[in-house]
């Protein structure tokens, strides 16, 4: 069952990405159910995953649109506010998913970094390093290594980026200024730390007024319980998310 389950989800992922590119495709949980999935036992987790897939897609799109600042495209204040609110909504949802598993209340102020559960670890994907070399406004990330098994993939847009931005655009006049003020680390502070606790990775955030956009792509909190199937699935999902994120960073 494990192998079958993994295969289906992987191919669904590929299907999803293939669908996205050419034309307007429908990605709704109802649609996903019709995508040739016959195992009724998997229906529930499948619709969960498609919801999560959509969430991840929307998340990455959000980041992509917000990153258009680098290209010099001015985003209207209305659009950037709507994008940020969508990001917040997704983050809230991720947070809620996380709190269900942890059985303790999540501090909305984002003090999870100080929580015992959280290890001081962060991961910056190699994409960041590559992206940094290409873009002079990004300085290299702190973390030198990127184990694939890490649950958390965080995108660290360094302080120099918002500084460059705010030098060019004043706060009063521009959505970009608004975004550079916006401490997104508050939003994304409660990263779901992975089940793999490696202590040799330094903390990446908590550095004050950074503008890190840390995103947790941990799709299924239930996998934190020691289900090996979930672990493997999540790892494979993370792999794909990692590629996706790297793609975004390198492209930008």
């Amino acid at each position: 069952m494990l192998g079958r389950g993994v295969k289906r989800k992987w191919s669904c992922l590929e299907e999803l990405e293939a669908e996205e590119l050419p034309n307007a495709s429908l990605i709704s949980p109802e649609e996903k159910k019709q995508d040739g999935e016959e195992d009724t036992g998997e229906q529930q987790s499948k619709s969960n995953m498609s919801h999560l897939q959509q969430r991840q897609l929307v998340l990455s799109l959000c980041l992509e649109k917000l990153q258009h600042y680098q290209a010099g495209m001015e985003l209207s204040l209305r659009r950037s506010v709507l994008l940020i609110n969508t990001l917040r909504q997704i983050q809230e949802e991720i947070r809620c998913d996380g709190s269900d598993v942890r059985l303790h209340s999540v501090n909305p102020d984002g003090c999870l970094l100080r929580d015992d559960f959280r290890e001081d670890e962060s991961v910056t994907c190699p994409g960041c390093a590559e992206g940094d070399r290409e873009s002079p406004s990004l300085s290299p990330p702190l973390s030198p290594e990127m184990p694939f098994q890490e649950a958390n993939i965080s995108l660290d847009l360094q302080k120099s980026l918002p500084n460059t931005v705010s030098n060019t655009f004043s706060d009063a006049g521009n959505a970009m200024g608004y975004l550079s003020d916006l401490a997104l680390d508050d939003i994304f502070e409660d990263i779901d730390t992975s089940m793999y606790e490696t202590s040799d990775l330094p903390p990446a955030w908590g550095a004050g007024s950074l503008w890190p956009v840390s995103v947790s792509f941990w799709p299924d909190e239930d996998a934190k319980s020691r289900s090996s199937a979930g672990t493997l699935q999540s790892c494979l999902l993370d792999l794909n998310e990692l590629d996706h994120i790297m793609e975004i960073l390198v492209k930008s």
Binding site: L26, E31, V58, R78, V81, L82, D171
Partner: protein, 490 residues
Amino acid sequence: MNVREKKERQSGEPCMIWDATLESLAWKSRGWEQVCRYQDLEPADSSMEEENETRKINNSFLRDHNYATEADIISTVEFNSTGELLATGDKGGRVVVFQREQESKTQPHRRGEYNVYSTFQSHEPEFDYLKSLEIEEKINKIKWLPQQNAAYFLLSTNDKTVKLWKISERDKRPEGYNLKDEDGRFRDPSTITTLRVPVLQPMDLMVEATARRVFSNAHTYHINSISVNSDLQTFISTDDLRVNLWNLEITDRSFNIVDIKPANMEELTEVITSAEFHPQQCHTFAYTSSKGCIRLCDMRQAALCDRHCKYFEEPEDPSTRSFFSEIISSISDVKFSHNGRYLMTRDYLTVKVWDLQMENKPLETYQVHDYLRGKLCSLYENDCIFDKFECVWNGSDSVIMTGSYNNFFRMFDRNTKRDVTLEASRENSKPRAILKPRKVCVGGKRRKDEISVDSLDFSKKILHTTWHPHENIIAVAATNNLYIFQDKVN
């Protein structure tokens, strides 16, 4: 080819069947016919040719070129208060004003056609050196002032500056100067032996537009709407975070009456999307937000109208909640009804009519293109979900109209609850053509004339429409084309 001939070929026969008792459009019988279509293009040359009549027509505007630039995209359309004039603004900062052809007994079918009356460059692109940002010259909104003398006045605005334009006709000029001869050259005073009084002689009609006021430097953010007060002395201009009140005579100061900018910009979650004055009550205005709520304010309560009098919001339906709920609830346009009892709002998928006395839910909700609900993710991806559609009432407040994709626009009859989808397209516009109702097929079998959701062209969107204040004449802007349709009795 004579310009007039071309227009005759394009216009159709006047069509009958207007149900005057119901004041509603009878869909079964003949419906909307195309009066004329104008293509907004860069003129090949700016010279204006004379016609037989005392009217100048910009031929280059009517000529059917094959090229169109992005500057030609029409960004706003507006009838004036009598319907005699129709103004359009485009992305290149140009305003083109059309005037209705006068009724003529010899050519009765020509009534209802609009000819180019005046063209002028309203706004130029600017550069904000402080922020290193270009200020687009695109005309966001045009609002007419009611006519008080022989000249016409309109307000036009781009992202930052509002301008008051005066459009006036000149059909006489003084002749018989003493010191100048007819060519304008100065005469040698020693050769003048007699004095004469210059007299006004008729000349070819000339329409000139002059900027009478420039209202600038009052908006940090982008202006999305302007609205003239019923007192005809003041107007408001609205950007993402503020509403400013101006006096039409005073350009060096304005009053800020709404300010939703938070002290800490990090806390910003909502922006103002549009605002309008009440059509009769000069102290009342409404503004809408990106979260889908409407606030009605009374300027008599306080100088700063931060506290609303009425707050209109429909509670969210939890069953339809998605990641895009907030984005699609963002209101893109607000319009008071002519009678002042209702207001109408447009969000991404619906048009809602609100009773000013009922704040907790709309009176009526009309689905514009609900078949897009399942495509929201893709529309989010290609940014179409951020498109801002406008909506408009007819003169009697019985029919409302708004645009959609694929050059479709929709009309809803509030009394009969019937609706129709029409298309503004070149392919379908034949001489004497009556618009055929269109239908989008959602699933299953597609009938012959239907179009499937996946075949819709999302680059062809009708964002701007306007309705004649008294008659059933509408103007629809489809990218760089302006369509004028009418539905009238013989």
